[in-house]
Point group: D2
Chain length 341, copies 4
Amino acid sequence: MDIIVLKRDATEEEMRHVVKKLESRGLKANISAGTERTIIGVIGDTSKVTEEEEDAIRAASGVENVVRILKPYKLASREFKIENTQIQVRGILIGGKKIPVMAGPCAVENKTVLTAIAEKVKAAGAAFLRGGAYKPRTSPYSFQGLGEEGLEYLAAAREKTGLPIVTEIMDPRDLDVIVKYSDIIQIGARNMQNFRLLLEVGSAHKPVLLKRGLSSTIKEWLMSAEYIMSRGNHEVMLCERGIRTFETATRNTLDLSAVPVLKQLTHLPVVVDPSHGVGKRDLIAPMAKAAVAAGADALIIEVHTNPEEAMSDGEQSLKPEHFEKLMAELKPVAAAVGREI
Amino acid sequence: MDIIVLKRDATEEEMRHVVKKLESRGLKANISAGTERTIIGVIGDTSKVTEEEEDAIRAASGVENVVRILKPYKLASREFKIENTQIQVRGILIGGKKIPVMAGPCAVENKTVLTAIAEKVKAAGAAFLRGGAYKPRTSPYSFQGLGEEGLEYLAAAREKTGLPIVTEIMDPRDLDVIVKYSDIIQIGARNMQNFRLLLEVGSAHKPVLLKRGLSSTIKEWLMSAEYIMSRGNHEVMLCERGIRTFETATRNTLDLSAVPVLKQLTHLPVVVDPSHGVGKRDLIAPMAKAAVAAGADALIIEVHTNPEEAMSDGEQSLKPEHFEKLMAELKPVAAAVGREI
Amino acid sequence: MDIIVLKRDATEEEMRHVVKKLESRGLKANISAGTERTIIGVIGDTSKVTEEEEDAIRAASGVENVVRILKPYKLASREFKIENTQIQVRGILIGGKKIPVMAGPCAVENKTVLTAIAEKVKAAGAAFLRGGAYKPRTSPYSFQGLGEEGLEYLAAAREKTGLPIVTEIMDPRDLDVIVKYSDIIQIGARNMQNFRLLLEVGSAHKPVLLKRGLSSTIKEWLMSAEYIMSRGNHEVMLCERGIRTFETATRNTLDLSAVPVLKQLTHLPVVVDPSHGVGKRDLIAPMAKAAVAAGADALIIEVHTNPEEAMSDGEQSLKPEHFEKLMAELKPVAAAVGREI
Amino acid sequence: MDIIVLKRDATEEEMRHVVKKLESRGLKANISAGTERTIIGVIGDTSKVTEEEEDAIRAASGVENVVRILKPYKLASREFKIENTQIQVRGILIGGKKIPVMAGPCAVENKTVLTAIAEKVKAAGAAFLRGGAYKPRTSPYSFQGLGEEGLEYLAAAREKTGLPIVTEIMDPRDLDVIVKYSDIIQIGARNMQNFRLLLEVGSAHKPVLLKRGLSSTIKEWLMSAEYIMSRGNHEVMLCERGIRTFETATRNTLDLSAVPVLKQLTHLPVVVDPSHGVGKRDLIAPMAKAAVAAGADALIIEVHTNPEEAMSDGEQSLKPEHFEKLMAELKPVAAAVGREI
């Protein structure tokens, strides 16, 4: 909390009460008595003021509003760390000049299909294999993923292709098994504010790909990154995957402006997922190019050899031949903004 | 999936392919060849078609769109069970003529304060004591709740006042301890699609209060209820607590139209939380009255003896005297719509 | 503009530049040099600072943010005028203890149907007849209203029933003809920021019913009221009619919390339109009751003798018998909150 | 209307009633009696079914829902006209391989500043000069534009630089004067559903740049284009400028996925306005590049020689030197997607 606006009819006593509160927390008050309102500027290290203390001031009688000027996240902020964070995963750099592409099926279905997809995306230039063994599904009657069996298939595909693995965690109780197999732990959009899960992966020694919640502000998203980092795990990448708006022509609205906004606010690498962002196969290529042009550090794209038989998200999966074409088309776009793919 | 719209230029072969898929799932196709589009009506029990199968049809070549007519939830639907579900908790009925009010602090802070609040809300006519021992907080640096100690204080307050307890679960690993102390398990808005947690409480023998997610549609909300019910726990109540919109004058936008919509779609009781819905003390009373007028079966309201010192959400907590006044004002509104409070 | 936050690395010179700007506008600067940020509190009558001047400060180098504390509207604000505005229309008071109900068809279709509806709603207790002669329709191929002929039918129905008329204006060129026939001029949601139209009705001598725009904040809405009032017409009522959100179960999301928020911010009467708010016949009655419980000063409801043949919005029109039933049910709700209907 | 879903308990008589309605409009009904629902597929030219007729069916008893499969717009649809529309303005092509950039101040302020800006953007490679003479402002107390005087300055700047002019119309009564001076008529976001204004420009012989409404769906936007085209003016370009969402880090959320979506649905050229889309100077360049990568046919960008003194939107205006740099950076991005700038 940094600025306190008093109500028009706040009494002298109410003002003194607020000032005393500030002083009891080691802060000083700078009072601007305007003709319409009295404003209290808070002097001192307000970054140590907790949310509760801020709420308490806001709830005090005579107070109209409290305006926080300082960002509520620290470790994740660009001010805390000026240079970009770069994350090394089995020799591949995320956050460097080169833009790695993570590709693979939405869900791991069986070993043969997965390996086939892995080989195809590897051949097309993908740097990571993505695939879900634990799947968040809207319906309890839908396929929920193969669990550890799926992780084994991912590991086998990595063995065969050399591609490191990205896979999603949904439950803190699965942390050990996922850490055992995966190279990057993904937190899905629906779990962006599953704070217990964030704390759990915060104590793991694995990079985390943190997807943006469907209706999360960029500030809340950075606070969730802060949760992970506060436990000591600083290898967090932020993945824009579309937000919920009134528009129904696309599954979500891919907020590409989040990319340059994040580049200003944080030192963490920014990933874009055009597949979930738009939810329709034909729209993925133009949005992948736009993401690169906007400054994305990595892409994550769904690819399936037979989208029609995919056990989830077939509608938004590229076929390997289209993925290969897209990879070729991305190269000049990356070059145009001083990057490589 | 119930209606399949083919693309304008879909071939005869593509159409036959889709029909064959349907037949392989025991369904029949009724083809309407319009001048502009061919539409396939699906005949048979489409409620058994899974999301994956629907996705597969949607991903098939020649298919423009798949329109689901039937609701994807079953156990939660009014069609499955026509009469209202009523839930008994220590002698108090939720979903009957009488509208129970759940009241208490946002977070349990210490034994003395909690007991004092419990006694006050009991005296004012509250039927349940609410209070969080595990708190979802946006910042890792904020007070996260007292944990089991908080549950003990809640139990002690129940002992003293006779008020049954509502408290939130955030982590499947806390289920046993919460079941041990609480009378109703609350799932918070941020966990509405924490599917593992839903399955977990689905196998508990305790009623569940399921809050609506910040950006969840009513359909998704009912699917989350279905998750819980699919495990055998049919005592679910749905709690509207405001959705995220562009408006910033209120913390959220309380969607009271969800009350009559739910009354049509489901047999489950509907609770309204005006405190989180608006986030400002002065707006709670009018919205609580509006909720009752709209047909709510229960209310949940934050009350604190000293909002200014509350460790969270002080800004939206009523003082006991205001809560007492509100309880008195709610009585004639309830009577006006044929209910009691 | 009231508070100016400087960038962390703002120079002494940049600060002096901003201070000089303020002084050139007759304002004084109160500088709070915090450890993290320097904040300039603006002292003096900032209500005369224009948007352009505020933008100019915001665009100045070294400035991170400008926070406006004072409301940008004046005539519409509760601070400007403490007592509620009451509007008299042909002997009916809007903004008093009694809650008038405006009822009638969405569009005026022909004289016989309109008169029949007018007589029915009059008998049921409506105080005004609503009906559109100029209709905003999404499609150019839809019925656009009868124009002046429709206004004549409205006047004839008023002649017969004594009900004053509410009808919509869409084009500044229609002002004279609408003023000639109508008792209240309605500005529709899509024209809430049609600033030329606002100025035009601002110079008319007729009360205005200003609907909220589909995605307008309450602040923007009040600014539009200010447009009308700035031209001298202070008889403005604000009509909540639902905002656009992600939810599709209802046509719009009726934001009833706008009612108590407006009651705090402005002295103008607040009307609620549950018909457009929900868009479905079965949901109108509960939301009309909720609107009254929330503190609405008036209601506007679509009624049609034959909704199935209505030329627009049939889906959300009540039949006269349902309207009559609703009017009876609203009476005890109004009484419960100290009002009459 | 193309598919009619009956209620579960619809009677035989209700079904026959609906079928008769369809037949009276020259359509045929294909009935699919499923185990759960009866669905009526409508056969025949449903594109002639008006909104009112669709509403009437929806309002009929026994009907649960009406699903429209066909697009409600015709002239604007890709199906109506397969090849891309190209618009010639004083020798400059919009919708071709080359991507013209429209640049200039938000508002025309005075002749000297405008001419200076025009010369700078011309030198940097802009193809059009933008500038508002009539300005929609949220506050009645803000600068509303110079009116015809501003148009004269625009014409003088065109004289000097050869750049054709884009300027906004707000009121149908200004059509003649704007047509006299301007080369492209802009309809602003707030007027996208000012249907009278759309009809008016529809009968003008000037190309129209139609901005997307703040909360308009792509379908509604195309319906507004249809309004203009229905009057005979087929030279319409669609300009994405950001939609309103819950995110506050940017002024609006620039929906770049609208670009490829529009490319599928319509033959009209697509323009992107990154300045209004993000509202912050530093974010404009990355989003302009992303827009080109996503397939935009033209860009419109705010440039001002002295953003700090701009009378509106200074915060989101580029300085000429930054615009020049951006133009240079856009060239390789355009080349990367097979375009030129």
